[in-house]
Amino acid sequence: MSVRDKLRVLVVDDTSTSRGLILQALDGFGVRHVEYAEDGEKALESLGRRPVHLIISDYNMPNMDGLRLLHAVRSNAATAKTGFLLISGRADDALLEAGKKLRMNNFLTKPFQPSDLRAAVESVVGRL
């Protein structure tokens, strides 16, 4: 069984456009178990119901942004080891530093091509 058959991903993004693009890209890679949430809080709810291997989250979201979500994920023993790929429209050192401290697994800037996303995911979970 290949990684893509087994991998479970949670996509967190408040805009349906970028969420849709990520979901479509993942679908194109053959990743079958994908869920989504509109913001950090809903993501945590979803994680409580069903854990995943990898979270792909936007940084800039209302209520709870991507970093806070990452913090919450790392603070909970059940999800502490979950992979976390942060996506942001703006890359700055402060954001990366904060991410590193929270053991963010990878980082991607928007806009990206599906191949960029694939590479970013594979560098965390292995060859799909």
Binding site: V31, V34, K81, V124
Partner: protein
């Protein structure tokens, strides 16, 4: 990809609305850090989406805008009124660029350059150019442990079924049966009752019964001894080995009295039977729950996206979102076997088009429930009507059917109703542009944005409202220095408000300007021959002169609100919406226009009156009072007209028949009645009709293109007895009256 692109532009519109809303809140001082965050996020998301679709002009401009907003967010750029104005103008340009891009047009490069220059002048870092894309930051990915062997995760999906009332299907190779049962005449008279058949079938397994009522004739032709109904039964047997014979045995006694077709398998959806909604004939304790009529958000019923492009992001109603299939397939259950829920969500999605309405899911559910109840009531009626002894129940059920129909009507109207907020938001841009062109300082305040009006009314209101707002800025408000000289704040205020008053919505456009210059209006009206030179109309009547065709007080046709169209065009547009405008002006303090609109254009509360043997409908809203003609205090006036005393005022009186060109012949009827009509713009008149029949709601039917515009007639309706009646409108009748009977000086006298 195209679907997502389409969805992006729809989302873009929402983000632009949020952006403007946030900036307006900041302008009013109502915003806080969250507002700034939301404003930033809106532009940021537009940039992100635009980038994904390589819409370079939009991306680039949004990027410049975002840079400045980032300065605001971080506190490097202080937010004052001037900055907010720049941001609002930048947002207007962003909206233009986005919309042009959506239409594959080339955005206005000049406007973009100007907006960018204005934005970069704000940037304390010296312009957007100073923020070159930083070198791509390096981030060393952190691989998960055990790459080759992802940990097995607990699978709550494997837990017992939790998807609502639909019972879990037996997983074995159970064969479903579809039974079409069509009683022939004589089934009932031979002592058979379909209900018993269904009860017997229910013993064999789970039933889904749908009834085809299309064979039912009208009540008058209903033969109580003939069923005229057909049923389709979907049977999911409890036993694995149910045979056809066992099913046939149920119908033993009906042999020769019905057509029976028993086939194996789940019923295919065809047009011969309606969608099952409910079946009141079945004992609720033994029947299966009716299949939902809207796709339930049952993820297992949704098809799994198999290929790229399967993830469709239609422009879903916000609340009515059918969740994306969570690529679900977390279990390999045979999802396609569930009967009744196999509706592909993508079929239910509206095609991306601007004519869609976003509807709160609750409203749709309410409507679906009501329709279900109507079907039940209809079925009960058929049942009761077949039994002569139950006439009393028939009346009661008819009553409840009437009630349900009213509720359905309200629900449907509610679906068409939208808040005026987006319309009001558009007006803030109109105000900004008008203020800039006239070099006036103007502030727009709005209230009652949540008031809901019919979608069509809102759409058709945009133009007249724009015109009224421009007028208010251009003609209503004074120059800043004139205002200061008059002891007013230099910034003029335009107040736009909406409120519901019973079945009408009032929209008010008020300015705190100089008010109407009545001397000037009067002089103009005399000059143009709109009124006789020697009359001295009341102030309110002078104000109303503004609505007369061709009236324009502006010394020169200003670029902004002129172009020869005046308030008469606005007035007519509002009349076309069955609305009225009232004007109220206070010299030195401002002018207020009050537009009164019906909640809907489809249903009218009307009074049915008779005149010369014909029946007409008058909008109830325009009738203030009725009194019997006989005994009313009537006086003739010079020139042949008549006035009548109503509500302590002498008002001009006209005969409806004469207005419609049907002179009165024959004896005077005693029932003749005078109605006091107030068309809305403040000049009541009395209308004599031959009699009043009733008050009721009527469904408004357009007269159609071929008939054209008939003065005084707005539409037609079909009355309960099938007769067509014309719907009259007060404003039109008043115009008829003025034209045919009284000259303006008589109105003033």
């Amino acid at each position: 990809m195209e679907a997502i692109r389409q969805a992006f532009f729809e989302e873009c519109d929402e983000l632009l609305d949020q952006l403007e809303e946030g900036l307006l809140a900041l302008q009013d001082g109502a915003g806080d850090g969250d507002t700034i965050g939301a404003v930033f996020r809106a532009v940021h998301s537009i940039k992100g989406g635009a980038g994904a679709f390589a819409l370079d002009v939009l991306t680039d401009y949004a990027h410049a805008f975002e840079n400045v907003l980032d300065q605001v967010r971080s506190g490097t750029l202080a937010l004052d009124q001037d900055v907010v104005m720049v941001l609002l103008r930048a947002a207007d340009v962003l909206a233009d660029v986005a919309r042009a891009t959506a239409r594959d047009e080339v955005p206005d490069a000049g406007a973009i350059a100007a907006a960018k220059a204005e934005l970069s002048s704000l940037d304390p870092n010296g312009g957007a150019a100073s923020a070159p894309p930083a070198a791509e930051p390096v981030f060393a990915p952190l691989a998960l442990d055990g790459l080759d062997d992802l940990p097995d995760l607990p699978d709550p999906e494997g837990a017992p079924d939790d998807d609502g009332p639909t019972p879990a299907l037996p997983t074995g190779a159970v064969r479903d049966w579809t039974i079409d049962f069509e009683p022939l005449p004589g089934l009932l008279t031979s002592g058979n009752e379909p209900l018993y058949f269904f009860r017997s079938l229910a013993v064999l397994g789970e039933l889904r019964v749908s009834c085809d009522t299309t064979g039912l004739p009208g009540l008058d032709r209903l033969d109580p001894s003939d069923l005229m109904l057909r049923w389709r039964v979907h049977l999911i047997p409890t036993a694995f080995d149910l045979t056809r014979t066992e099913i046939e045995n149920v119908f033993d006694f009906a042999e020769g009295l019905c057509h029976l077709k028993i086939v194996e398998g789940t019923p295919a959806r065809d047009d011969t039977l309606p969608e099952p909604i409910a079946n009141p004939a079945i004992d609720p304790t033994t029947s299966a729950p009716p299949p939902p009529s809207v796709p339930s958000p049952d993820p297992t019923a949704a098809p799994r996206p198999e290929s790229a492009g399967a993830v469709q992001l239609g422009p879903l109603p916000q609340a009515a979102v059918v969740p994306l299939p969570p690529a679900a397939g977390t279990s390999a259950r045979p999802v396609a076997k569930k009967p009744g829920t196999g509706v592909n969500p993508s079929e239910m999605r509206a095609k991306p088009q601007s004519t869609s309405v976003r509807v709160d899911l609750q409203r749709v559910d309410d409507l679906v429930n009501l329709v279900g109840e109507i079907v039940i009531a209809q079925a009960m009626l058929s049942q009761i009507a077949s039994e002569p002894a139950r006439h009393q129940e028939l009346v009661g059920t008819l009553d409840s059917l009437n009630q349900l129909t009213l509720e359905v009507q309200d629900s449907v109207m509610a679906i068409r109703a939208l808040p005026v907020k987006p319309l009001f938001q558009r007006m803030s841009r109109i105000v900004r542009e008008a203020a800039q062109m006239t070099s006036k300082d103007v502030r727009l305040t709005t209230s009652g944005e949540d008031t809901q009006i019919d979608k069509t009314v809102i759409e058709l209101l945009a133009d007249p409202l724009t015109h009224m707002i421009r007028n208010a800025v251009d003609h209503g408000l004074e120059e800043p220095k004139t205002r200061k000289a008059a002891g007013k704040a230099a910034t003029g205020t335009i107040t736009l408000s909406a409120a519901q008053r019973s079945d009408r919505v009032l929209v008010e456009i008020a300015d705190d300007g100089a008010g109407i210059d009545r001397a000037k209006v009067l002089a103009k009206a005399r000059e143009k021959g709109l009124i006789e030179a020697d009359t001295n109309p009341e102030p309110a009547e002078i104000d109303r002169l503004l609505f007369l065709p061709g009236f324009s007080t502006s010394d020169q046709v200003s670029e902004l609100s002129g172009r020869g169209v005046g308030m008469d065009v606005v007035n007519r547009a509002i009349q076309d919406l069955s609305g009225t405008i009232a004007i109220q002006s206070d010299p030195g303090r401002g002018t207020k226009l009050t537009v009164s609109l019906p909640l809907t254009l489809a249903i009218l509360d009307g009074m049915i009156v008779s005149c010369r043997g014909e029946r007409y409908v008058l909008p109830l809203a325009s009738i203030v009072e009725t009194q019997i003609l006989e005994g009313s205090k009537i006086e003739g006036v010079a020139g042949g007209g008549q006035v009548v005393l109503m509500q302590d005022h002498m008002v001009p009186m006209f005969d409806l028949g004469l207005l419609l060109g049907r002179p009165y012949v024959g004896v005077v009827e005693e029932e003749r009645t005078v109605l006091l009509i107030e068309p809305g713009d403040g000049a009541p008149f009395a209308l004599v009709v031959d009699g009043i029949e009733s008050q009721r709601q009527v469904v408004v039917k357009g007269l159609g293109e071929s008939v054209g515009r008939i003065p005084g007639v707005s539409a037609a309706t079909i009355l309960g007895d099938g007769q067509v009646a014309l719907i009259l409108d007060g404003v039109g009748l008043q115009m008829l009256a003025r034209r045919s009977h009284a000259k303006p000086e008589r109105l003033a006298s």
